[in-house]
């Protein structure tokens, strides 16, 4: 090992001293900065990751829409399913309805799904709390959990469904009676917006309520594992007519994802300042070290040490503190992420705010997902900043002339 690295190590971890106080204090700031970055980026990434899964689970990887309704959707489904990389496609009709149970009204989205194919695209079955998709027919619906709770309906109850067509009928002085449907299931997706305002019914029921005839509003597509959503959408578009277009889920929700990314990048940038402040603390400690060790630096020069190697000794200390702080920060951050739900559960229990958590943050549990790229970015940025913090002390040390340094008091 080169002498300057050996000396850097020995200065950080002096022989015979059990607790390297200076090193631990210097690395602590870096540790806290990295841990905070990992925790916050993990939770932010978790929200984005969960949202992606909820979207894909409820609407597929690719959504096909037309300017109006899609006619002869069966032919379109067949054509889409023949595209390489496409696993399955299912038609749907979706719009706002008014439902009424007793004297309690609500205005959810009713999504009419094709029972023969929906399970191959959107795995709604795994979100069923009570009942099953198999129980669904043209005279029944499945309610999302919070919606069912808000109107007080449960499985077996009959509710009234009013379609938007009521307005047209009323303007033509026609009598319009609500559709009586039976609740055959309750489902909970775990996303507040979907759980509070979604009703699932058959495609036929939705077509009847919206007066669609044999047309549909769109087609959801699932891709085979490993197929990129944008590539899949492009391949599908190649076989579709001009007025029917396929969009990847990222395209369909691009504004939302852009805002999520912006938030994530801003928070990353702001939290990076903690690491930068920690780096200033490392720099100040190393500058004090240069002043304290002036005569030793002079000795190194007198023994034949070159200024660049003296500089490397102090720069390496910044690097080592950065590596140490980063490693400890990663360990602390991932441990905190591992126990995040226990902590949140405890806090919400103590403050009795479990429902508030769900209402404001959309999810019943705090999600977490951090990509390898984000971890790599945190590691590289922190180590580079810490190493840069060693540059000024290193430069000052390298500039010391041995004869003057040895003479210093």
């Amino acid at each position: 090992m080169p002498w300057y690295l050996h000396l850097a190590l020995r200065q950080l971890f002096p022989t015979g001293r059990r607790f390297p106080f200076f090193t631990v204090i210097s690395a602590l700031g870096v540790t806290l900065g990295v841990a905070l970055l990992v925790i916050v980026m993990g939770v932010m990434g978790g929200f984005a990751y969960e949202i992606k899964h909820k979207i894909v689970d409820t609407e597929g990887d690719v959504q096909i829409r037309a300017r109006g309704a899609i006619e002869d959707y069966a032919a379109v489904v067949r054509r889409v399913e023949s595209v390489p990389g496409v696993a399955a496609a299912t038609p749907y009709a979706s719009d706002v309805v008014m439902i009424k149970f007793g004297d309690k009204p609500a205005y959810p989205m009713l999504r009419g799904v094709d029972l023969a194919s929906v399970a191959r695209v959107t795995p709604l079955g795994k979100y069923m709390l009570v009942g099953s998709l198999d129980d669904l027919d043209d005279d029944s619906i499945i309610l999302s959990a919070q919606l069912a709770a808000s109107i007080g309906a449960s499985v077996g109850d009959t509710i009234e469904v009013y379609s938007p067509l009521i307005i047209n009928k009323l303007s033509n002085d026609e009598l319009f009676l609500p559709r009586q449907v039976k609740v055959v299931g309750i489902l909970e997706i775990g996303h507040q917006q979907l759980d509070s305002s979604t009703v699932y019914g058959t495609l036929r029921l939705a077509q009847d309520l919206y007066g669609l005839g044999s047309t549909v509003h769109g087609i959801d597509v699932s891709l085979k594992p490993g197929v990129n959503e944008d590539d899949g959408a492009a391949r599908i578009n190649a076989v579709l007519p001009e007025d029917i277009r396929a969009f990847s889920w990222e395209d369909s929700f691009s504004d939302f994802l852009w805002v999520l990314n912006l938030e994530r990048n801003m928070i990353f940038f702001l939290l990076l300042f903690i690491v930068i402040v920690a780096a200033f603390s490392v720099m100040s400690s190393l500058l004090i070290s240069v002043v304290r060790k002036t005569r030793e630096i002079g000795l190194l020069g007198a023994l034949g040490g070159r200024p660049v190697h003296v500089a490397a000794c102090f720069c390496a200390q910044g690097l080592m503190i950065g590596v140490l702080g980063t490693a400890a920060g990663l360990a602390l951050g991932f441990t905190a992420l591992h126990f995040r739900n226990d902590v949140v559960l405890w806090i919400t229990r103590v403050t009795q705010r479990q429902e508030v958590m769900r209402r404001f943050y959309q999810f019943s549990e705090l999600p977490s997902h951090i990509s390898l790229q984000t971890v790599a970015l945190i590691v590289v940025m922190t180590i580079v900043i810490s190493t840069l913090a060693g540059l000024l002390p290193a430069w000052k040390a390298a500039r010391l002339k041995p004869v003057e340094a040895l003479r210093s008091e």
Binding site: P2, W3, H6, L7, R10, Q11, P14, T15, G16, R295, E296, G298, L299, L300, G301, A302, L303, G304, G305, R306, H309, K401, P402, V403, L406
Partner: protein, 219 residues
């Protein structure tokens, strides 16, 4: 006489003191033969340490030349192999134990292999500190620290050792022992030594004794 290990010619050095120019060395000439021991005495402020720094290549003269083995290269890289230095204040690295401090001279040279470790231990044995090889400087007495510094100066088998008042911080008995050790080890290794000292008794132990007066070296 064989080619001198160190040759200094017409060395002049002055410092600014306020508006005045303080001329410390006014044309110093010195030749040191291989294995020779030379002492330099002089009053405080006479320029002994300044001269030693110039001879060791740590500072540059205003005029004149310094040559080691006939070569004017007195740079850091050559100094590591050619020259050993002993200081009044020992200058041991506090984070390194005695053995590592001795080995540091060889590490800087870039050759800290197994044989170097053996040599460091051997040198510590020669200065009577074999049992204290793994003690930190803070666990050693002043005399022991100076003996570690002495072992470090010999680590790279230098051609010349310059010692700047090595007994200045030691009591008389310990100082005598250190000077005896320095001169003895240099004699047995055929290493030339320049000893700057106030002590006439120590100077008398060297082969040649010089006095620096008014910026000029005399016998």
């Amino acid at each position: 006489m064989s080619e001198p290990v160190l040759s200094a010619r017409a060395i002049r050095k002055s410092y600014k003191s306020g508006d005045a120019l303080l001329e410390v060395l006014r044309g110093v000439d010195l030749d040191v033969a291989p294995g020779e021991s030379v002492s330099i005495r002089g009053e405080s402020g006479s320029g002994k340490s300044t001269l030693l720094n110039l001879l060791a290549g740590l500072d540059a003269p205003d005029s004149g030349t310094v040559a080691w083995d006939g070569s004017p290269d007195t740079g850091a890289r050559r100094r590591a192999a050619f020259l050993g230095m002993v200081f009044q204040s020992f200058y041991l690295v506090p984070e390194l134990d005695a053995c590592a401090n001795v080995l540091l001279a060889r590490r800087i040279l870039g050759r800290a292999d197994t044989s170097a470790r053996a040599r460091a231990r051997e040198l510590l044995g020669q200065v009577g500190l074999a049992e204290r090889a793994h003690h930190l400087p803070s666990q050693l007495s002043g005399g022991e620290r100076q003996r570690v510094a002495l072992a470090r100066s010999l680590m790279n088998n230098p051609r010349l050792i310059v010692a700047d008042e090595p007994t200045g911080n030691l009591d008389e008995r310990t100082g005598n022992a250190v000077v005896e050790l320095l001169l003895g080890l240099c004699t047995s290794a055929n290493t030339a030594v320049i000893l700057v000292t106030h002590n006439a008794a120590h100077a008398a132990k060297t082969r040649r004794s010089l006095v620096l007066t008014a910026g000029v070296l005399g016998g």
